[in-house]
Symmetry: C2
Subunit: 721 residues, 2 copies
């Protein structure tokens, strides 16, 4: 599955750079700025460019939303959104209790009134864009230090956003960096804030195969759910209120119940998160040797512990489900990437390409003058990052992987930041974002599980004790003057968790409006620890800005010289803005002698079903299978209902929930994952291995009708069962 | 891989029964008695039946040999035999030392003089057969007890064999039971006893993938070796002597260097060991619930220990290699079978078929009279077997899994048996077999590794202490009057191994000709233990004969009524006699969404190669691959050399080394394994899953030429490189 939330947190220290070479028809996440340049007919698409995206009017993409870290699409005129089960997961988990286990059993709202608010969920629709590169870059002066440069770009971007939102009341603005240090676009979005849960299949369908099948083809997961966007009675975006009405989208997608066949052309609009296709070998080496192995080891440890906790108690399992899912998704993705990088010798290959580029630069005096030493300078940025990676990794985990300390950190920071003028604050604490920050914080609180968070805190302290000289965390060392001995840790942990009080929504809400002084006066030991660590966090942030500033000065030169060398233009890496990608329903050969077919069926669900998690397909489903009760959803040539489809379009995290459209622009599937061999996708594209996975619309409809008994949704989508 | 030696030891308690229904063109291991009835043209075979097997003259099968537990084929007029690497494994292991590691590095005899005698290896060529059912069954009288019945059949068979060998000097005779209790054939064989090792590729080719890839498709193992049969200067079968000459076979197979393509017809002659296709549900249940799980657990324990031992010391690894390989082969096969039985619900399915048969029997008074209660009576035989299974399993392991005790057991038994008239002895001790028994015993001695055998002995004693009341081994209990306490075991083990002396070839050879009294006078503690356990072994043998006698009385009735019910005839289960099977080069779908192609290539070797065991392809091979130095062995349509091929012919253990012939009867591959889904093959045939695996002749020739530098062998086979 492709979720970006976790990935984003982790990637925050890295910058995104450069575009992917658009040499192949299949590669490329095209920005909507480029839609007119795409040869749609050659890609099997019959829809005209202006009917996909129309700067002067409406196009298909107006029916597509960015749904928090995912994508979704409107499939009715009443704001019904089709997305992935794993995208709605947080909302389903929130609504579930041990007694009312919607996660395990599935959920159907019998009527609009029963639809459950999904707190923290938002939906954005791209309305327009404008190039603001000149304006942004005018703020940068040659005399600036790298960190100052980053801050200047950030400040200017905030000003542009503020002006745009003032000029377009009700819309939301974002400045997106397309090419690092070089190109910036201002996007305007419709921004919906009342999203509700409508239908989710049982976990044994929506997450069938669980972590075992995650990032795996052939797949048999019914990874879909329905949500709905609501607006105020005046039709304008509003926070949740009981009197809100279903949103009336200006465009919604037609659902094509007949689905696809092997070889069919498809097109996917969506909001892919991040790719790193043209990063230098230095970045790849850092990822391969430093960051990813550290993440995998620590996440696997956390997952192991949480699984033990959950195995003993279903209520605890429900609390920890989301945390496990997020970590497991990342660690398996990284394992796939590490394997792929090793198999392809990716870093060495990139290094060889850079050596050729170096030769090209050296061969011409003018080029020498402009670009000599460029790659070495980029390399040094990563060398510096590697030198402090252990310390930064530990700090980042202290900030985010122990729930009560993460809450305390946000409270400490909020108190400081909220005291500044709005435009000078860190983005999360600006007035326009603070309500969402508050909601996320309260959501985060629900993840708290004392034995788990105590265990993780203790392990992080132990690791702090093992940091090498020069990377030590003085704030922690001061707490353990005689070393991080077990007894000292016991005493400290008892004090830290024993007296802490900020574990209720009321307490956290109250603390969110306190000044730093008032907060300090609470004497909460977790707040005290967060405050003691805060200067270290600030230093890391400054270092990150310095690295980004340095790269922003270097990477535009790299793009420039690579364009000359390769004699082609690039399209920018994914950056959570609206993109389009194209492909065909197509299998692949994962290894010698094996061919993966591009469409799976219910036969495979029955084959894999064990009755036990993660292959615990519901009895009702297996009964229908045995009875061959497939309705109209097992088309000619199939022995049962198609479940998932595979295609060679170019997707990444954030594309989860993206509609898969046929050549006529009709919805035939919901994108939710990539094949294991395609996790490497974020770094390098391969026509042989890059394959993404959708749940087949025929499975969506069959499950919704036969398992969910949700005929009202089929009717709403104009599907005759 | 398919070896039968271990399987035979284990299966010795079971009887083979019934034939497989010949409803499908692909199913069936046809006895040569049936060759004339096969529709060869429909199977894509252009060779006439009489050119395959000709009772009055010569056919292709005269070029095929039973090579100890495997099959092989003559591929030159000088007795060159092509078989599997795993069939020649014992010979290669014997010839290897830590300093001269032919197992790891491969072996090539530069000339005839350098070919290494493979002690214990024999080659048999089927010359003719005759039905002796009437003669054998005339020895059975209704008044006999089941055990007496078995003994009468055994005795009569020995007499027939003795008469046949007397009448045909130089040939070897065997009576084979085709349908249990019903049909018996006398086969006459040419019997060659001087077999030598000619060429074996390095382990990283011949056993590439090791246990990990064993029973797995797609496969990339170069599982082949060349051996050669020698005869006395007079051209007659002879024991090894330096002056022996290469055997001149009357028929040898043409090697077709061009290989096969997907869909091509193939035909496989060979000596499949045992199948159990039409056994009753009682047998399947015993296998599934009692025997196989016990074997898997105990073998896995042994393998784990031996791998630890070998990891520390390559010399020890060489000693234990064969034992590990044998056990691992069985345990993985059983795991595949257990999985397949569970997946197919095989036992329940068989029970349902039997219920239908029961209804058929009940529906007619005559049938009721003849067959009522038949299935229940068969069931009771297995119930009795299950009741004493733990005890018998332990005894059988004491007899065979602790090398010095196994040697002692044979010595004790030999002394007793050799004192009887020849025809009254157990088969292994008859004059005609005793020399081979001696050789095997001396070979077995080489497996001895004190720390390993002591460990296994101790574990078996511990398990003897855990036997339930009623199944106890009194002979052992008497040795531990105060229970099997650790200290008592220590003392006993020290005495058992400390004073034992029968660990040299000379000592064992000498002991083999002693009387029971002389042997007893040696006072060897291992011999004493073997003697104490001997009466228990005799009781087990008696019980086995009683069970076989009971089934022999019942199973012919079952065959009879099944023929009436199903209205079809059966062909007998495999029984190590010459069979023919047919099929096509054909992939399969192991699970939904996956298609396995039927021909793999060197690409896959490079993909799998890790440089470490078991994927340690030689550098030389990978270099040739990189240079695309494929000679003439990468035909059109292939990017590199084909390595292995897959087909839907019907094979089992014992077919290892069988030649795979094209429709013209030319050799295109060497059969060596089945796909994991096809391990269930021994119990049930499936056109969807039953697939066998050969090393492709193109890989054989390419490796022999390019890695082995053995141009002389290619010339000998009339192959132009």
């Amino acid at each position: 599955m492709n979720t970006t939330r976790i990935a984003r947190l982790l990637a925050s220290a890295c910058v995104f750079i450069l575009g992917a070479a658009s040499t192949r028809a299949d590669e490329g996440m095209w920005p909507i700025t480029e839609v007119a340049k795409i040869d749609l007919a050659a890609r099997g698409v019959q829809v005209a460019a202006k009917d996909i995206f129309n700067p002067e009017g409406l196009g298909l993409v107006n029916g597509v939303v960015q749904l928090t870290g995912c994508t979704g699409s409107f499939v009715s005129d009443r704001g019904l959104i089709l997305t992935n089960h794993h995208c709605a997961f947080g909302a389903i988990q929130d609504a579930s209790t041990k007694e009312r286990d919607y996660l395990a059993l599935g959920f159907l709202a019998r009527s609009l009134e029963d639809e459950i608010p999904a707190r923290g969920y938002t939906a954005r629709i791209t309305e327009s864009y404008r190039d603001v590169s000149a304006e942004v870059l005018a703020a940068v002066e040659p005399s600036m230090s790298p960190a100052e440069r980053t801050k200047a770009v950030e400040k200017k971007s905030k000003e542009i956003v503020a002006a745009a939102e003032k000029a377009n009341p009700g819309l939301r603005a974002e400045v997106a960096e397309m090419f690092a240090g070089k190109t910036y676009l201002l996007f305007l979005y419709t921004y919906l804030k009342d999203i509700r849960l409508v239908y989710a299949p049982p976990l044994g369908i929506g997450n069938f195969g669980g972590e075992e099948d995650n990032w795996v083809w052939p797949r048999h997961t019914g990874d879909f759910s329905f949500m709905r966007a609501y607006v105020g009675p005046d039709g304008r975006s509003a926070d949740y209120a009981p009197g809100n009405m279903p949103y009336r989208p200006r465009v919604f997608l037609k659902v094509a119940a007949e689905g696809v066949r092997e070889g069919d052309a498809i097109m996917i609009p969506g909001y892919p998160g991040r790719t790193f296709r043209h990063m230098t070998s230095h970045y790849l080496r850092f990822e391969e040797e430093v960051r990813m192995p550290a993440v995998v080891a620590w996440y696997d440890e956390q997952i192991g512990f949480m699984e033990e906790m959950g195995a003993a108690d279903r209520a605890v399992a429900l609390i920890l489900a989301g945390r496990i899912k997020g970590l497991a998704n990342t660690t398996k993705n990284y394992k796939g990437k590490l394997l792929g990088m090793k198999r392809l010798g990716l870093t060495a290959k990139r290094r060889a390409e850079e050596a050729e580029l170096g030769t090209f630069i050296a061969a011409d005096p003018k080029r020498r003058e402009a670009y000599a030493g460029l790659l070495d300078r980029i390399g040094r940025v990563y060398e510096e990052q590697a030198a402090t990676a252990s310390r930064e990794f530990l700090l980042s985990n202290l900030r985010s992987h122990v729930v009560p300390l993460a809450v305390a950190h946000t409270l400490v920071e909020a108190a400081i930041e909220r005291g500044k003028p709005d435009l000078e604050r860190e983005s999360a604490y600006m007035d326009r974002n603070f309500s969402q920050t508050r909601t996320r914080l309260l959501e985060r609180l629900k993840d708290f599980h004392a034995p788990t968070d105590r265990r993780f805190m203790r392990r992080l302290l132990e690791r702090a004790g093992e940091l090498p000289a020069g990377q030590r965390l003085a704030a922690l060392d001061a707490l353990f003057p005689n070393g991080y001995e077990p007894l000292a840790l016991d005493v400290f942990m008892e004090r830290l968790f024993g007296a802490a009080r900020l574990d209720t929504e009321d307490a956290v809400n109250a603390a969110l409006s306190m000044t730093p002084e008032k907060l300090a006066a609470l004497g909460d030991p977790l707040l005290d620890l967060a405050r003691a660590l805060y200067p270290d966090h600030l230093r890391v942030r400054e270092a990150e800005r310095a690295r980004k500033g340095a790269l922003d000065g270097l990477l535009p030169l790299l793009v420039e010289v690579k364009r000359q060398f390769l004699e082609k233009s690039f399209i920018p890496d994914a950056n959570s803005t609206l993109r389009l990608t194209f492909g065909r329903i197509r299998g692949y050969e994962p290894r010698d002698g094996v061919f993966y077919k591009p469409i799976t069926t219910l036969d495979g669900v029955a084959e894999k079903a064990t009755g036990r998690d993660p292959f615990d397909a519901p009895e009702a489903l297996l009964d229908l299978y045995k009875k061959k009760d497939f309705g109209r959803f097992a088309p000619e040539g199939f022995k049962s209902v198609p479940t998932c489809v595979l295609y060679d379009a170019d997707t990444t995290g954030g594309n989860s929930g993206s509609p898969v459209l046929n050549g006529r622009g009709e919805l035939v599937g919901v994108n939710f994952d990539r094949a294991f061999e395609a996790t490497i996708n974020d770094y390098a594209w391969s026509p042989d291995y890059s394959r993404s996975i959708a749940v087949d619309i025929r499975y969506v409809l069959w499950v919704t009708q036969k398992i969910g008994q949700a005929d009202r949704l089929l009717e709403e989508m104009n599907i005759t069962p």
